[in-house]
């Protein structure tokens, strides 16, 4: 009989080793799935995990990993702060949308002013928009005790309606012949979030993601507020005795995650996406929740998890086009990877012992 024994502290070796074990297991299980679908499993697995990094088109796809991982990291780091303190912001998708809309509105309002101030102002507005949208659940929670999971989730749908209104109404491109969608920021230099070094995918949003990872790491490890966040999550009562104000934490954590999601939306709309459109949001806010936990709510871990998720997206697309795999199979494969990652995490927190044998043998 196998028995689990909790380790006093998580094993560092396994903490680094488990992701590789999970990827290996996923390759085997996923390979079986692809073989069952009549595809060459080795080719598919190579296309997903190897080609984006070292294949023929890696020069382009490596940069795309950053484009994909940037917003995921930004949002997930913010969410992780709240999750650590037991504050559940499920509505980052909505904050991402509103951040993009508010930021884009500022840019479009001053179109076509060419000033160095336009883009920084838009960034501020984007963060403000996300923060504002997150303040709704925050204030309802602190003032009326309303559950933030429900409010933040419901506000995603409200934000989506506002998005379609923006794309078909108040932000619609006046030169777009009545079609939905705002002006494209790629043709408005002062408001554009360009690729900083051609071919690398590096844009201001990716830079911001790196900065935020470092800042969050410092906050959590070295700052009193970080300590309070961790304490509130692990021992809420102790935290209250230690003088941590729960309301202040709610406002801070929701506000920070909202603002970061807002930034992510702004960088996306001015850069890779280019414009406000009806379907501008593509689920980063929800995927970021998974990323936050895969990264064990640790900023550096989140960055790595976001890169891994990005790899499965980019590689998965390659496999779908080049090998004719249904996109559903890719989603199943991603699900498997997540399952294995979560399952083997056990090994870093627990020892697996062959228990019972000793006694029975006696």
């Amino acid at each position: 009989m196998l028995r689990l024994e909790k380790r006093p502290t998580p094993s560092r070796a396994w903490a680094w080793g488990t992701p590789f074990l999970a990827v290996l297991l996923t390759m085997i299980a996923g390979g079986a799935l692809f073989a069952a679908l009549g595809k060459d499993p080795v080719a598919v697995v190579r296309t997903i995990f190897w080609d984006p990094l070292f294949g023929e088109f890696a020069f382009y796809l490596r940069g795309q990993l950053l484009v994909k991982a940037g917003p995921l990291t930004l949002i997930a780091v913010g969410l992780a702060l709240g999750f650590r303190a037991g504050i559940w912001n499920i509505g980052a998708e909505g904050q991402y949308i509103i951040g993009a809309i508010v930021g884009a509105s500022v840019g479009l309002a001053v179109y076509p002013t060419e000033s160095r101030l336009v883009f920084p102002l838009m960034i501020l507005a984007g963060g403000f928009g996300g923060w504002l949208w997150a303040m709704i659940p925050a204030i309802l929670k602190t003032r009326f005790n309303t559950n933030e999971i429900l409010v933040s989730l419901m506000l995603v749908y409200v934000a989506e309606t506002i998005l379609s209104k923006a794309a078909t109404g108040f932000l619609r491109n006046p030169e777009g012949a009545g079609f939905p969608g705002s002006r494209n920021f790629s043709s408005y230099p002062a408001a554009r979030n360009p690729e900083l070094i051609a071919g690398t995918g590096m844009h201001w949003g990716v830079v911001a993601a790196f900065v935020v990872v470092i800042a969050a790491y410092v906050l959590l490890q070295r700052h009193l507020l970080g300590f309070q966040i961790r304490l509130a999550g692990q021992a809420p009562r102790a935290a209250r005795f230690a003088g941590v104000s729960p309301n202040r934490l709610v406002i801070f954590c929701l506000g920070a995650s909202g603002a970061l999601a807002g930034f992510a939306g702004l960088f996306e709309v001015t850069g890779p996406a280019g414009q406000i459109s009806i379907d501008f949001n593509s689920g980063y806010g929800f995927t970021a929740i998974i990323v936050a936990f895969l990264g064990r709510l640790n900023p550096v871990g989140i960055l790595l998890a976001a890169l891994l998720m990005a790899l499965t997206y980019v590689g998965g697309e390659m496999a779908a086009t080049n090998l004719g795999l249904p996109s559903a199979a890719i989603r199943v494969f991603q699900g498997m990877l997540l399952f294995f990652l979560l399952a083997v995490d056990l090994l870093s927190n627990y020892r697996v012992r062959l228990a019972g044998f000793g006694r029975e043998a006696r």
């Binding site: 484009v67 079609f179 939905p180 414009q275 009806i278 593509s282």
Partner: protein, 361 residues
């Protein structure tokens, strides 16, 4: 059949030619980007049918590839780039939202042809656009609706307030009104392209309000399924695909998006070297818009009338937007005998006179 369709396409289609002819190619790799899953049973499904027709037509001379469920924006740009890199010669981008991504990637790959569905931007010589005149089909549906309604209330389930949709609503209403002056139109905006449960609810709401003919501009068969529950009292139409499983009633006819002829023509042109940049907007005449069989649930004289309208549109003797027509606010739009210029249609953001609802602003 195929030859005839092709000839008709060449004769009737609105094709603005420019650019220069290309050299012949021995083999073409044609790639498709889809906005939804092939299993949506509507919009994407029909584009994929087009892909299959291309394969059937050219056999070994063509290689195809596709990608489903590609979100608009950054993801589309990456998928397009990656397709261009991996040797696609012609890439069909099948959703309006891919417009800017298509043009951005086309700038980087001047040797790859890009074909963007339902858009208007052709910033580079290697970008063509194509669309279908679905409003022609709506005219036929409107005629049937006006004749068939007993309550004089007809309904329309709309997705988003964009010209494409508004055009369809106007055409539907104008032709219903023409055959039945007492007809009233209720429009429900679902704010989604695809949400079967919500579409069913919207249909139910219309039925509860006494509507007995429903047209829809959302993609699932949920609307017909809801109508089927009334046991023949309420009828509707197939949208995007034929939805033949609801024949003979509630589905009394349908608009079928038939992209195959266009895809075959463009890939064929690339093969034989006659490919040129184009702005194609074809309808019933070009075979891109098919009117699905009008079933026996419709009286013979109504069927004949609807078919006559279809044929007149196909022959080019009748335009669904022919004056005198006024806008909803009472201002003049088209004078007697005048037909709507394409520019007006493509940017349409007003209802015609007589529709009571408002377009969300």
């Amino acid at each position: 059949m195929k030859r005839r369709t092709l000839l008709a396409t060449a004769a009737m289609g609105l094709i603005a030619l420019s650019g220069t002819a290309e050299a012949q190619m021995g083999k073409v790799k044609a790639c498709f980007v889809y906005v939804g899953p092939i299993g949506d049973g509507g919009w994407t499904f029909q584009h994929h049918e087009g892909l299959k027709q291309v394969e059937a037509e050219f056999g070994d001379k063509v290689e195809t590839a596709y990608q489903e469920s590609v979100p608009e924006g950054a993801d589309a740009e990456r998928v397009l780039t990656q397709m261009a890199l991996s040797g696609c010669n012609i890439i069909f981008t099948t959703s309006f939202g891919y417009m800017d991504a298509t043009n951005a990637v086309a700038a980087k790959f001047p040797d790859v042809k890009f074909e963007h569905a339902t858009g208007f931007k052709r910033d580079h010589p290697n970008v063509s656009t194509y669309n279908a005149r679905f409003y022609e089909g709506r005219a036929v549906q409107g005629t049937i609706a006006g004749r068939m309604t007993k309550s004089n209330k007809i309904g329309y389930i709309a997705s988003f307030p964009i010209p494409e949709v508004i055009m369809g609503i106007n055409s539907y209403y104008i032709h219903a009104k023409k055959v039945n002056p007492n007809v009233e139109l209720s429009v429900v905006w679902a704010y989604t392209w695809f949400d079967p449960a919500k579409e069913a609810d919207a249909a139910k709401a219309l039925i509860d309000q006494g509507v007995d003919v429903i047209a829809s501009h959302t993609d699932s068969t949920a609307v017909l399924a809801e109508a089927a529950k009334t046991g023949g009292k309420v009828i509707g139409f197939g949208q995007a695909s034929d939805m033949a499983e609801y024949k003979p009633s509630p589905r009394v006819s349908s608009i079928i998006d038939n992209w195959g002829p266009y895809y075959i023509k463009r890939v064929g042109a690339l093969l034989d070297g006659s490919y040129q940049q184009a702005d194609a907007w074809e309808g019933i005449a070009g075979g891109e818009v098919l009117i699905g069989e009008i079933t026996d649930a419709v009286p013979a004289e109504v069927k004949a009338e609807a078919e006559a309208l279809r044929d007149a549109i196909a022959a080019g003797t009748y335009h669904p937007f022919t004056g005198p027509l006024k806008k909803q606010d009472g201002s003049d739009w088209l004078a007697e005998g005048q037909t709507a210029p394409d520019g007006d249609l493509l940017g349409m953001n007003f209802f015609v006179e007589g529709i009571t609802g408002e377009i969300p602003k």
